[in-house]
């Protein structure tokens, strides 16, 4: 499969890592070995695969979306961009609510609503990273590989 991953959301203004970031990307990419994976993001982010293309323009990203079979991202701009061009993919959620910030056309992987922030509209600088809030890498890989199956919000556990 041709897969795009957009693994990170931007660093917070206080310098902390964004709690939206999925902690198990290494496992995901290892389990997807053999597939053609392109990572997008910005310079300074950790490259998870050989083909890391930072700082692409929006039109370049749109072109790349035409090329791929599917994509996976956290709750960042990429899921909105793909949605805006009608290309469904996999979004890994943690503490933000996919009912509000996601798109139903995608596979939205939410471990459980109990992990959602109480105030979904508060700034992220007040939130802390919670690794327990995310689905496992197996779930993510499964969603990616089984992308053509049901597209619905997945509740694990």
């Amino acid at each position: 499969m041709k897969i795009i991953i957009s693994p990170y959301s931007r660093r917070l203004r206080n310098g902390n890592e964004n709690p939206k970031n999925y902690p198990f990307w290494d496992n995901v990419t290892q389990k997807l070995a053999g597939h053609e994976i392109v990572q997008v993001g910005v310079v300074g982010e950790l490259g998870l695969v050989t083909d890391f293309r930072p700082n692409l323009r929006l039109d370049e990203l749109r072109e790349l979306l035409k090329w791929c079979d599917t994509w996976a991202s956290v709750d960042n701009f990429f899921q909105h961009l793909a949605w805006s061009v009608g290309k469904p993919g996999v979004v890994i959620w943690g503490q933000s609510d996919p009912e509000i910030f996601g798109h139903r056309e995608n596979v939205n992987l939410l471990k459980g609503r109990e992990f959602l922030r109480a105030n979904q509209f508060d700034i992220w600088e007040t939130a802390k990273m919670n690794v327990k809030a995310f689905v496992s890498s197996d779930v993510v890989v499964s969603a990616i590989l089984g992308f053509n199956h049901d597209k619905q919000i997945h509740h694990e556990g």
Partner: protein
């Protein structure tokens, strides 16, 4: 072939001359005419072998003495030699051989080493201190005209008569002419002391004038008018000498207003150069005024400059007249009370009594306080420094100073030198050039091409300076230029090449009530821009200056134009990119009741150099910010649209989500202005993006536009896109 040498002598010692003739001459008949000479001198000559002496107890004058000698001579060629000449060391008869050489042509009648020009006769002639004449000339036209006695002018008269009879008057074979105390004529082996006799005669000056008058009456009707060659009398069809042409062309480009008075107007030939003016000329000489009226119409009046009842004029011209008046300096100051602009010339630092009709001498810039000084050379070149003999002092008071302001950044070795060359070489150059370096602050004097350009500017009387900016944008520099005291500022970008007459044309349009004038600003090879009538409300604000169109009044100007500083300030809120600065600036001038004019003949070429440039601030946010400032101004001017303003202080993803609603918003609103952080999201959409700061200036309340607050207030649990829809649709 026989040669006779005729030497008339009066009181001057002729012996040195004769000795040199004996030494370097062989085979010629030598006739000395003792022309009323003192008895001792005559006695000495009587005993001198090798000459024929003709004695006249009374002075016969130069022509009379020569004629006696010629009549008594027997040669086929007669040499007339002044007694203050010395033949220089040479092989025997070389001087005669050189004089004889041109006679190989049968049409040659006279030869001599020195050719002169007679202004009274307006003709060339051989100076008769040494001349060889074919006897056939005397046979054809007679002898020298003795009415010129005691001397001066008879040689001119004889040469003209000889030419009129078909004889050629040519120079002998000589090299370059070099005045050295007396005269040494090229390689012609003779020394002429010059005017050893006649200049000492009583009443010589009167004689000179009398004979000049005689030549005038016989050959040159303008002589009378020219006041003995002092006054330039140029008719409607005459060639104007370079200096006269230069000063009136200069004046034509500097006169203020239309009502012009010229004092000492001579033949009125100023009217050949001053166009579209209400001209009045005065001169004290009725003859020259009558001539002026015949040549140029009824614009002239006989008047005494000091008794004249001056009214008020826009410009007064006083060319070559102040030096003729004892009170010339005081008059120059007095005339300031009667005009807005005074243009004057006089001889620069002239030696006292160089010419008797000049009452003032040693006139220099300090003689005329308050005037700006320049100089005109004899060849008509205008410069900041005196240029050799016969330099004329060129002065102006009240002349509107034009400052050319060239903002620059990063184009030191590409287009900036081209721009400066085009500015400096204007037909009407600016008085000052200010280079506003908003980039690397280079010392341009270290770059050879700028050294040449600055030297050229100084030669043309243009002062120049470099002002260093702090990188905050050209509008800051332009604002500085408004305080530099110039009457007009001409803006030229550092990749714009004005055609040579642009400033001259723009200035012509800069009348009272005009705030700014601009011409076409065209990109080579690019198609014309869209048609425009220059209204501020036009969609996209196309400028008439993007094509060559019709002259018109407009509401804003673009890029390069001439303007009257001090009417309004440049907008200091703009970013370093200074996008829209000129549109805001010129429209504000328009709104102060001043006319803005588009003049299609003043073409400037815009090279659009991709390197550098005063606006080369690549951060898109600068441009969006400035667009917001502009929109704000439009709102101030009541020119705002019914557009929808959206304020997006959020992440990239939120921008993308919002962008999907743009088609719906555009269906409801004529215009959509988005103050945002990621304008690239809206690329290709009919959306005007501005900075967040500008959004606030345009009236956006960040709280009201905060979609997260909007959702929190409503305990929102539906998709974000629906929240945006709720907020804006």
């Amino acid at each position: 072939m026989k040669i006779s040498i005729v030497i008339p002598t009066y009181t001057h010692d002729v012996m040195p001359c004769l000795r040199s003739v004996f030494q370097y001459t062989s085979g010629a008949e030598i006739i000395v005419v003792a022309n009323g000479s003192p008895p001792p001198k005559v006695a000495a000559l009587r005993n001198l072998p090798g000459i024929r002496l003709i004695e006249s107890p009374e002075p016969l004058g130069y022509a009379g003495a020569v004629n006696v000698g010629v009549k008594n001579s027997t040669g086929d060629y007669i040499v007339l030699l002044n007694d203050d000449c010395l033949l220089l060391e040479q092989p025997v008869n070389r001087w005669l051989d050189q004089l004889l050489a041109p006679f190989s042509s049968p049409t040659v009648g006279l030869t001599g080493p020195l050719y002169g020009y007679s202004a009274p006769a307006d003709a060339n002639f051989l100076v008769f201190f040494c001349v060889m004449i074919r006897r056939a000339v005397f046979d054809a036209i007679g002898y020298l005209d003795e009415s010129f006695n005691p001397g001066a002018g008879e040689d001119t008269d004889f040469c003209i008569r000889a030419e009129q009879a078909g004889f050629k008057v040519v120079t002998a074979t000589v090299g370059p002419t070099r005045p050295e105390g007396g005269l040494v004529i090229g390689d012609f082996p003779i020394y002429h002391k010059g005017e050893a006799t006649v200049a000492h005669l009583p009443g010589w000056e009167e004689t000179f004038k009398k004979n000049a008058q005689k030549l005038l009456e016989k050959y040159n009707k303008k002589w009378r008018l020219s006041n003995y060659c002092e006054r330039a009398v140029i008719g409607a069809a005459d060639d104007a000498p370079p200096r006269e042409r230069a000063r009136y062309e200069w004046a034509a480009k500097r006169i203020v207003g239309r009502k012009v008075l010229e004092i000492g107007c001579s033949s009125g030939y100023a009217l050949r150069f001053l166009k579209d003016v209400d001209y009045h000329g005065i001169d004290k000489d009725p003859a020259v005024i009558e001539y002026a009226r015949r040549q140029f119409g009824d614009h002239f009046e006989v008047a005494d400059i000091n008794a004249y009842d001056y009214g008020q004029y826009d410009t007064i011209i006083a060319f070559e007249v102040l030096e003729h008046l004892d009170n010339g300096r005081e008059l120059a100051q007095k005339l300031k009370n009667h005009c807005r602009c005074l243009l004057a010339t006089c001889p620069y630092d002239e030696t006292p009594l160089w010419v008797s009709w000049h009452k003032l001498s040693h006139l220099v810039p300090d003689s005329f306080p308050g005037f700006k000084a320049r100089y005109i050379s004899a060849g008509g070149e205008i410069a900041t420094h005196p240029m050799g003999p016969e330099t004329i002092l060129l002065m102006s008071w009240g002349e509107p100073e034009v400052l050319c302001f060239v903002p620059t950044r990063g184009r030191y070795e590409t287009t900036l030198p081209l721009t400066l060359a085009a500015v400096i070489n204007q037909t009407r150059p600016p008085d000052r050039v200010v280079i506003y370096d908003d980039g690397d602050h280079r010392d341009l004097r270290e770059i050879p091409i700028y050294r040449s350009l600055f030297m050229l500017a100084e030669r043309k009387g243009i002062s120049w300076e470099v002002v260093f900016g702090d990188g905050s944008g050209q509008h800051r520099g332009h604002q500085i230029s408004q305080g530099m005291g110039a009457a007009f500022v001409w803006r030229v970008d550092d990749d714009e090449i004005p055609e040579p007459d642009v400033l001259e044309i723009l200035l012509r349009d800069m009348g009272d009530g005009v705030g700014a004038v601009g011409g076409p600003c065209l990109v080579p090879g690019m198609p014309d821009g869209p048609p425009s009538v220059g209204k501020i409300t036009e969609p996209g604000l196309p400028s008439p200056q993007w094509r060559v169109g019709q002259r018109m009044d407009v509401e804003h100007l673009h890029s390069t134009f001439l303007y009257r500083p001090g009417i309004v300030d440049y907008d200091s809120r703009l970013s370093p990119a200074a996008h829209r600065e000129e549109t805001i600036f010129t429209h504000e001038i328009f709104r102060r009741g001043k006319r803005l004019i588009y003049e299609p003949r003043a073409v400037t070429w815009h090279l659009r150099n991709p390197e550098g440039g005063i606006r080369s601030h690549s951060d898109r946010r600068n441009w969006d910010h400035d667009e917001g400032v502009f929109r704000l101004k439009m709102a101030e001017w009541g020119r705002g649209t019914d557009g929808k303003l959206v304020y997006l202080d959020s992440g990239l993803g939120d921008h993308i989500v919002f962008s999907t609603l743009v088609p719906e918003l555009l269906a409801r609103h004529k215009k959509l202005v988005v103050a945002c952080c990621y304008p690239e999201v809206f690329g290709g959409m009919a959306v005007e993006c501005v900075s967040l700061e500008c959004g606030k200036m345009m009236g956006a309340d960040p709280e009201t536009h905060n979609v997260y607050k909007w959702m929190a207030d409503r305990a929102w649990n539906r998709p974000l896109v629906d929240a945006y829809r709720g907020l804006y649709l």
